[in-house]
């Protein structure tokens, strides 16, 4: 009963988050480049990308820990761009947890409630600790807890405030695989239970896909593609998404013909067909992709048909057995190496290294991308010595200028 009265001071439900043309530049590089994003209330949204893609910066902008160079940020329709972190109805679960080392676990969880002068903070904090099953460690110091427990305390400390928007900055990054899977399920459960809007930042594609309703793949400060996990996986639109989210076989060639249903791309003399509605561009050079598990391996040349693409003969250069499936690398002259995942559904039907094989796939399973894969090294690493040297110099210059 007491809980209900004080609950009124909390967000009733999650709030929408909108980023409008947000750009963030640091001396020497642009972390976020004209990003626009709408996250509906109550959804579990994941920002997925490699390190240095700008996803953590996006999160820090929303939390108010960084100021955007340009653009607006709206939470629940209210412009919060010019407000400070402590004025925003947003809480963050930090990657490092950042639990206050001089306070007990309970005081950590109560911190936000007390700042907002919410009655019954003690009871609410205890409830939140019970939610993450840590009621028994309330009086300990964070340093006395294991990594997984600290992570749960960090989660409780944020969730207890019932923020309109909860930001998760790779909160599972420091946990081992088993604990990670367990926490992923728990997080998802908590989100559904409390109905908040979650914005989750991660570089783990599996994590993003299992947890989120909507995934946005970020690369070099821009969103490459956004959608439901299945949609992103089954019809990627850029080569980055096709290779970052799972594996893909990609072939680039010129469009040699098109009908209403399919476009035909000729690669090294072979005709590859893609359904028109699964291809982003329909003329010029087009990259065709196919997921390895959609590719079928044959000993003899399969019958040609308009709904199947056949390549071969090729030679198996590697076969690695992983229990549930076998991964083959097939070298097809002119096409390069093709990855094939074959389910081990029958006994003893395995190709081995050096065998001559054909590969085929359903035309409907292929997808056409908007760009061609970059030849080598998709992006310059931020930790590459040249970049570090440039950043250091620019930092120094900025320092001298400010002085």
């Amino acid at each position: 009963m007491n809980k209900e009265t004080s609950a009124r001071q909390f967000a009733e439900a999650g709030a929408d988050l909108s980023l409008v043309n947000v750009t963030k530049r640091f001396p020497g590089f642009t972390a976020i480049d004209d990003l626009s994003l709408d996250i509906p209330a109550g959804s579990f949204f994941a920002l997925l990308g490699p390190s240095g893609c700008g996803k953590t910066t996006t999160l820090r902008l929303v939390a108010g820990l960084e100021e955007p160079t340009e653009g607006r940020i709206l939470v629940g329709g209210k412009d919060v761009t010019d407000t400070k972190a402590y004025q925003r109805p947003v809480n963050t679960v930090f990657q490092s947890y950042a639990l206050f080392p001089h306070m007990s676990v309970l005081d950590n969880v109560m911190f936000g409630l007390k700042r907002r002068k919410i009655a019954d903070a003690d009871q609410l904090a205890k409830d939140a600790l019970a939610l993450v099953e840590l009621g028994h460690v309330a009086n300990r110091k964070p340093a006395q807890l294991s990594g997984g427990q600290q992570q749960r305390v960090a989660l409780a400390r944020a969730v207890v405030n019932r923020p309109a928007l909860l930001l998760l900055d790779e909160p599972l990054g420091a946990l081992d695989l088993k604990l990670r899977r367990q926490m992923q399920l728990e997080l998802k459960e908590i989100q559904q239970e409390v109905g908040l809007t979650f914005l989750h930042v991660t570089h783990d594609q599996e994590e993003a896909m299992t947890m989120a309703d909507t995934v946005a793949v970020m690369n070099q400060g821009r969103i490459e593609q956004m959608g439901a996990p299945e949609e992103l996986y089954e019809s990627p639109q850029t080569s980055f998404v096709a290779t970052f989210l799972g594996q893909s076989n990609l072939f680039t060639g010129e469009v040699s013909g098109s009908t209403n249903q399919v476009i035909t791309v000729s690669v090294a003399g072979q005709e590859l067909r893609v359904p028109t509605d699964r291809a982003v561009s329909h003329r010029g050079d087009v990259t065709v992709g196919i997921r390895p598990e959609k590719v079928v391996l044959h000993r003899e040349k399969p019958a040609q048909s308009s709904s199947v693409t056949v390549l071969g003969p090729g030679r198996v250069t590697d076969a690695s057995f992983s229990g549930v499936s076998t991964q083959y690398l097939v070298e097809v002259p002119g096409m390069g190496q093709i990855i094939v995942f074959a389910q081990n559904t029958s006994l003893g039907e395995h190709a081995s290294e050096g065998d001559e094989v054909f590969v085929s796939w359903q035309v409907d399973h292929a997808f056409g991308l908007a760009d061609a894969p970059a030849p080598e090294g998709k992006y310059v690493s931020d930790t590459d010595t040249v970049s570090v040297a440039v950043q250091e110099r620019e930092k120094l210059e900025a320092e001298f200028e400010e002085a």
């Binding site: 108010g64 402590y86 809480n91 490092s96 950042a98 206050f100 080392p101 700042r115």
Partner: protein, 309 residues
């Protein structure tokens, strides 16, 4: 113990100070300790013992001035306390004031150097050098310089009189003000440096987390930054308070003080060197030592540093 406070660890270091481990007994450790122990026995324990003996001595009946014999005259203590009660009190008041002022000046200084200048390593280094720079000049010289600056003909007094902030017959040298000022000035680096050392290691992610949890900057300082810098504050206050209590330069007539501002150090000096009342001087020295030790123990206990270490 009291001096545990000097082992100021990083605030909020992820791992608490190394757990006490069971050390295997090693003869090497003993050999390494030996020179230090010998030195301390020779130059600390022996003089201390001699000081205790001296403090109970009585004058030889009919002897010269400064001639004393071994005895157990506890009255020495009673006498010095009743005679120099005001000086003892004044010492602690001046030292406390200087500690408070040094903290008020030193903390913001340390905060700026350790936190705000973190992004500008060059300026941070320069500020640190400036903080330490006074050590390159003898403190006697620096104190004399202050005496000149505060002198009756000096520009400080002149300017204050012109602005009619002080009456025309007022003066600064020899006043409690100039003594406390001198003490504050002298011990400011001792206050600022330990605080700087803890703030410099302060993990700013805690500050961000505080802001994220609805705490405004003032509350973040009160609830997060300051508690995490307490080890430095304790070290700084001890390094200021202890030597300031026994200081006899600033309060001396030759420098910033006068007979009205004499502190325990001045009284001890006078008894040892001028009055040649060695037992009284020794008793005063021991009283000074013991009272500092007791005050500091209470202080460290109450500030709860055990929790932080």
């Amino acid at each position: 113990m009291a001096f545990g406070a000097f082992q100021s660890s990083a605030p909020g270091g992820s791992v608490a100070a190394a757990a006490p481990q069971v050390q295997r007994k090693s003869p090497v450790a003993l050999w390494l300790l030996l020179p230090g122990i010998l030195y301390l026995i020779l130059f600390f324990v022996t003089p201390l013992f001699s000081l205790v003996l001296t403090s109970f001595q009585e004058s030889v009946p009919g002897g010269f001035i400064g001639e004393y014999q071994t005895a157990f005259r506890f009255e020495n203590y009673v006498e010095v306390v009743s005679t120099y009660f005001t000086h003892i009190g004044r010492s602690f008041v001046y030292a406390s004031l200087a500690t408070v002022f040094a903290l008020l000046l030193g903390y913001p200084l340390a905060y700026v150097i350790g936190v705000k200048l973190r992004a500008y390593p060059l300026w941070q280094a320069l500020a640190l050098v400036l903080l330490i720079a006074p050590f390159f000049i003898s403190f006697l010289l620096r104190t004399l310089a202050w005496k000149q600056i505060f002198s009756d003909e000096g520009f400080v007094v002149g300017a204050l009189k012109t602005m009619q902030l002080i009456p025309a017959d007022a003066y600064l040298t020899g006043t409690p003000f100039s003594v406390v000022f001198g003490l504050t000035y002298m011990f400011l680096p001792f206050m600022a440096l330990p605080i700087y050392a803890t703030l410099e290691k302060l993990d700013l992610r805690y500050v961000e987390a505080g802001g994220d949890l609805y705490a405004n900057p003032v509350t973040v300082f009160r609830k997060v930054t300051f508690p995490l810098s307490i080890p430095g504050v304790i070290s700084g206050t001890l390094l200021t308070f202890i030597p300031a209590t026994g200081d006899y330069i600033n309060a001396s007539r030759d420098f910033l003080g006068s007979t009205d501002t004499a502190m325990m150090g001045n009284v001890i000096e006078a008894n040892f060197l001028v009055l040649q009342n060695f037992p009284a001087a020794a008793a005063l020295s021991l009283i000074l030592m013991m009272s500092i030790l007791i005050l500091v123990s209470i202080y460290v206990r109450r500030s709860g540093t055990d929790d932080l270490l």
